[in-house]
Amino acid sequence: MRHHFRTSYSQEIRSYEDGRQLMWYLLLLLVAIVAPFLLDEYLLGEATQILIWALAGMGLMVLAGHTGQVSLGHGAFLACGAYMQNFLVSLSIPFLFALPLSGLFAGIVGVCFAVPALRLSGVYLSIATLALGAIAEDIIIMLEPWTGGVEGVYLDSAVFLGIDFDRYADGLSPLASAGHNFYWLCLMVVLLVTIGYINLLRSATGRAITAIRDSEISARAIGIDVAKYKTLSFALSCFVTGIAGALLAHFLGAFNYEAFTILISIQLLMMITIGGIGYIHGAFVGAILIVLLPLWITIIREHVSGFLELGNASIPGLDQAVIAVLLILFILIEPMGVYGRWLKVRGWWRLFPLARKKMFRRHRTYLKTERLR
């Protein structure tokens, strides 16, 4: 049994529970930093992709997980970031400067969408975002001069101050796998965003947005400007998603509208739901699952088809189907996602041997009345 014994308030407002937890996170960071020396080029590419999806996942998590405004069309903001990045780089703006600008562009588009859309709530807002995600493809194709239409675009290589950040570039160290410059860049961005996110959540702004998620009425009565915080959350969410899009653009090198179909939006939402909605960790867990899923499916298939002699014919849509089944299972069995389940397991160990089953039963949410009587 472990117990947190605190002796000052500053121990409560810091971003980690105790020295032990901090040590684990620093160790994780260290492993992430040296990963290019440990992984081959293919796996490093997967790791880079995990970082990019975790970034996009954090973007959606602020909005859907912490503000309670579920967006089914975040792929549109991913596209905003990606195409803006391409456009800015083609104007020979250094790509590192273009990165935040692309995020900013996505954020502004997000706010323009949010201001009218936030009159809607719950499922109506989701439907509006779904519509946005669905028309994103058509808009991309229509804006041919900037987006290359159906053909798509090829990005110039990402060079900054003579250092090549291209995904396949050899990079700074001959010992590390190719593409590590770009990997480290992604890691840096993810780190900065995560720190900002943690800071936000432990301050008044974070409490305001989670208050809106849990009870809008109470939030207003406490003095929280609901419209303002929803818009802010939209802006931050789209900003981060936009940066993820810009990084994705460099990662892909060449892309067209197909990279931003409505399926991507839905996959993003499924990702954070399976990972654990309402937790920053959930975005990371979800990204790892989703990015590595095809790899796992391939491995499993090799074993299974060796067994059943099915051959190696590919099954279209298998990945999506597996994700969908996972999602359904999670919603039925563990709505708090992988991370939520982990918290319960950890809680059980911490209380060992005092834990009782009913301590971890799903919380009953009291019926909310529409009327305030």
Binding site: Y9, S10, E12, I13, G196, N199, L200, R202, S203, A204, T205, G206, R207, A208, T210, A211, R213, D214, S215, I217, S218, R220, A221, I222, G223, I224, D225, V226, L232, G278, H363, R364, T365, Y366, K368, T369, L372, R373
Partner: protein, 262 residues
């Protein structure tokens, strides 16, 4: 000068007149209780004052500034906090987080500063943490500090809601049936707290309550309502002995059944 002044306030839901040409005022430092049968419009008055509902007619003044048209989120900042009849807490947050959220209007830092968790933010966070702890001590919530609301018993939730409302140091506290559903012991705790909030913290309290023991124990003044309109107002004794009030409560009657000891 009255702290809160309500002038000829009217509010309708379609054909139902929830509040009907109602005027009253709340004096600084008093505990004023609204009584009346269910559907008399008590909660509607609270929702009008906290601007969750719009009045059809009439005006509300707080500290001599008109608040009838203000957006709801400005109200707490002016110094009016409230609880809800059926508790509206942040279910997924802990007791401490709920109380800290109640400190929202006390903050002087911006979202940008929060993003970087600057020195000022840190300082303010510590201040709010300290304030929350004082409130937790006051309401005896120490053992629930880190419990998530969704798992708490009803009685504790009611208290947490009062604690959250008090967090922003309001001048006027609106309590909508604070002891509904509480045990006798819990109700008497609430009576103590109301007393302390009035006498020590100098808060003015406007309350809706059905528990007559509590009402008589803490109220300085009572207003009786029926169908959204004022039936009687005055000292507890005056109101409870008022023939119209007795009639409203007991149908018709002589008042002898209303066995109140003052």
């Amino acid at each position: 000068m009255s702290l809160l002044k309500v002038n000829e306030l009217t509010m309708r839901f379609g054909g139902v007149v929830a509040v009907d040409q109602l005027s009253f005022s709340v004096e600084k430092g008093e505990v004023l209780t609204l009584i009346g049968p269910n559907g008399a419009g008590k909660s509607s008055i609270f929702n009008l004052i906290s601007r969750l509902y719009n009045a059809n007619h009439g005006s509300i003044y707080f500290n001599d500034t008109e608040i009838t048209q203000l957006p709801a989120h400005h109200i707490a900042g002016l110094g009016i906090a409230r609880t809800f009849q059926n508790t509206e807490l942040f279910e997924h947050a802990t007791v401490l987080q709920n109380i800290l959220t109640g400190c929202h209007v006390l903050r002087s830092t911006t979202a940008l500063q929060h993003l970087f968790f600057t020195k000022k933010v840190r300082h303010e966070a510590l201040e709010h943490r300290q304030r929350s702890e004082e409130i937790i001590d006051f309401f005896d919530l120490q053992s629930f500090r880190h419990s998530v609301i969704a798992g708490l018993p009803y009685g504790v939730r009611k208290v947490v809601e009062i604690a959250r409302a008090v967090a922003c140091r309001p001048a006027l506290l609106l309590l909508d049936e604070p002891t509904a559903g509480l045990s006798a012991e819990e109700s008497s705790d609430v009576a103590f707290w109301i007393d302390d909030l009035q006498k020590d913290a100098g808060m003015t309290i406007l309350m809706v309550e059905h528990n007559m023991d509590l009402v008589l124990r803490v109220s300085d003044r009572i207003i009786a309502l029926e169908d959204g309109a004022l039936l009687a107002s005055g000292s507890p004794q005056e109101v409870l002995e008022h023939p119209d009030v007795i009639a409203a409560y007991l149908g018709t009657g002589t008042g002898e059944q209303m066995d109140v000891t003052l």
